[in-house]
């Protein structure tokens, strides 16, 4: 991996606005995510978290402003993202095995007709090892617990050897112990990867995260959150203390 691969910011949103049927969802949003950042995007439901995620994935286009992913338009570079969708977006009764799901992360344009190669399978095994699910590779999807389900989706996101991990509500439907385990894992992955995590649960903002972006139509990155703490606490109530409690001072910035 050469250095210039990361010379551009991983994600760059400049003056981005977006509206659904005339209702503004995002207004003048600016966000820069650098290589090896661990950013948590938080905010109330309907505040525009999912919209930011879809903009980064190139699934929607901004009404105004620009979205750059690895210095290019997201459609061109989104194959470098490992994406983990929300648990609830998938059909739990779908007839697939754990290994089937993880292999989907190895799909690519112009795949040969004979399917997955040996190296695809090796990568899938490796990804399952990372999330400690290798022993359940043959298990059908509908026999997995919530935590196992999340781990399989994480393995699928990792199997393409991404430069950015994008996780949408990764701890919904899992208990606290699994949440902590998942966090430990993400922390290890963060040694090499940039991670963006979307969550409506501020309890999830632990000391592993080094940046927090608060989204509620407008986006406030962490230092701004600090300044307007009263406004944020009006939205979130006491939860705002959890960010402050867990956060560490670094480079003079509250991060």
């Amino acid at each position: 991996m050469s250095e210039n691969r990361y010379s551009e910011p991983v994600v760059e949103l400049k003056h981005v606005s977006f509206a659904y049927h005339g209702t503004p969802v995002l207004e003048d949003v600016n966000l820069t995510v650098e290589h090896r950042d661990f950013l948590s995007v938080v905010g109330p439901n309907g505040g525009g978290k999912t919209t930011i995620l879809k903009l980064i994935l190139g699934l929607i286009k901004p009404a105004a402003g620009t979205v750059r992913l690895f210095g290019a338009s997201p459609e061109k570079t989104r194959h470098r993202i490992g994406y983990m969708p929300q648990y609830t977006s998938l059909d739990p009764l779908f007839p697939v095995s754990v290994l089937d799901v993880v292999l989907m992360g190895r799909l690519r344009k112009g795949m040969n007709l004979w399917g997955y190669s040996k190296s695809d399978r090796l990568c899938a095994e490796e990804a399952l090892d990372k999330v400690e699910m290798a022993h359940l590779r043959e298990r059908p999807f509908f026999q997995l617990s919530g935590g196992q389900f999340q781990r399989v989706l994480l393995a699928r996101a990792l199997v393409s050897d991404p430069d950015l991990l994008l996780l949408d509500e990764p701890t919904s439907n899992v208990d606290a112990a699994i949440e902590t385990g998942l966090y430990e894992l993400l922390h290890r992955l963060n040694e090499k990867l940039t991670i963006i995590l979307v969550t409506h649960d501020l309890g999830f903002v632990s000391h592993y995260v080094d940046k927090v972006a608060c989204v509620n139509r407008r986006l406030l990155t962490h230092p701004t959150c600090e300044i307007t703490g009263e406004m944020i606490s009006a939205v979130y109530g006491s939860h705002v203390h959890m960010i402050r409690h867990d956060a560490k001072e670094r480079d003079g910035v509250f991060s």
Partner: protein, 284 residues
């Protein structure tokens, strides 16, 4: 049942019927599994009913304008493919009105068919066979045609297995991996449309959805993975078509309806036993 077996040697129409049942079961099991897994049986229903429009129009052209090449099967294939593309494009582009369009295609297709059949001179024995199927009327040419379509569906359905699986399971993720999701989804719907045309000849327009989905739904109780569901579904489909045919023969019952009732009873039994055991699947 014994009468059916002894007559099998005597009458070629029975052998053709049995063979037709075997052949369509292959396409039915594979495409039916996609339909059940992706939960789009209502789309299959709309495509099936719209087929009447194509059959009616083709029959009208055949009788009134003497276009002998205009076989009702050609009309059926055209109507099924057009419906599949309309529904597919609408569901990809404008999700919020998908159900309305499906209902419209369903009913408009039938209405067009009824008008053409009404205006076609002569005795309309065809209407009944379009609606309820006539597996006992299968000819040698029909069998070749069925075999050809079947091969097309089988090869395409299996070659793009991974892509179809990914698109059915998680469309968004497949798109992010660089797959042409829209093209694959439309191709899948077209293959489903062709399968429906094949099945219309066996059980008729009205009962097609049941034959397409019941073997796959039954198989889903015994499968971990989609390809297992497909294989088992083919087996169940063969069992239902040949069993239904055999059961209907001696009492002189309509074969299509008997096949569907047989399939339905087996499915409901499996579902009931599973539910009584707390919703468990029967997998090793």
């Amino acid at each position: 049942m014994t009468e059916f077996i002894s007559d099998l040697a005597r009458f070629s129409f029975l052998r053709y019927a049995l063979l037709a049942g075997f052949l369509v079961s292959i396409a039915c099991g594979i495409m039916g599994s996609y339909v059940v897994a992706r939960r789009i049986s209502y789309i299959a229903g709309a495509i099936a009913h719209s087929v009447l429009g194509g059959m009616g129009a083709a029959r009208y052209g055949e009788v009134v304008y003497g276009l002998s090449w205009l076989h009702p099967l050609l009309g059926a294939i055209t109507a099924a493919l057009i419906s599949a593309l309309i529904i597919g494009l609408v569901s990809l582009r404008a999700r919020e009105r998908e159900d309305t369009v499906i209902g419209a295609v369903w009913a408009i297709g039938m209405a067009v068919g009824i008008l053409f059949i009404f205006k076609t001179p002569g005795y309309n024995e065809n209407l009944m066979s379009y609606l309820f199927g006539n597996i006992l009327m299968v000819s040698r040419e029909d069998l070749w045609l069925t075999a050809g379509l079947n091969l097309l569906i089988l090869v395409t359905g299996l070659v793009f297995y991974r892509q179809f699986l990914a698109v059915c399971f998680d469309e968004e993720f497949a798109l992010l991996r660089g797959l042409r999701v829209q093209a694959y989804y439309l191709l899948l719907l077209c293959l489903i449309a062709l399968t429906i045309v094949l099945l219309v000849g066996v059980v008729g327009i009205i009962m097609v959805i049941a034959l397409l989905t019941l073997p796959a739904a039954t198989a889903s109780y015994f499968s971990r993975r989609l390809w297992q569901m497909m294989g088992l579904s083919v087996v169940f489909s063969i069992l239902f078509t040949s069993g239904g045919l055999a059961l209907s023969y001696a009492p002189g019952l309509p074969a299509g309806a008997t096949i569907i009732i047989f399939a339905g009873v087996v499915y409901l039994l499996v579902a009931a036993v599973s539910s009584a055991l707390g919703g468990r699947r029967f997998i090793a």
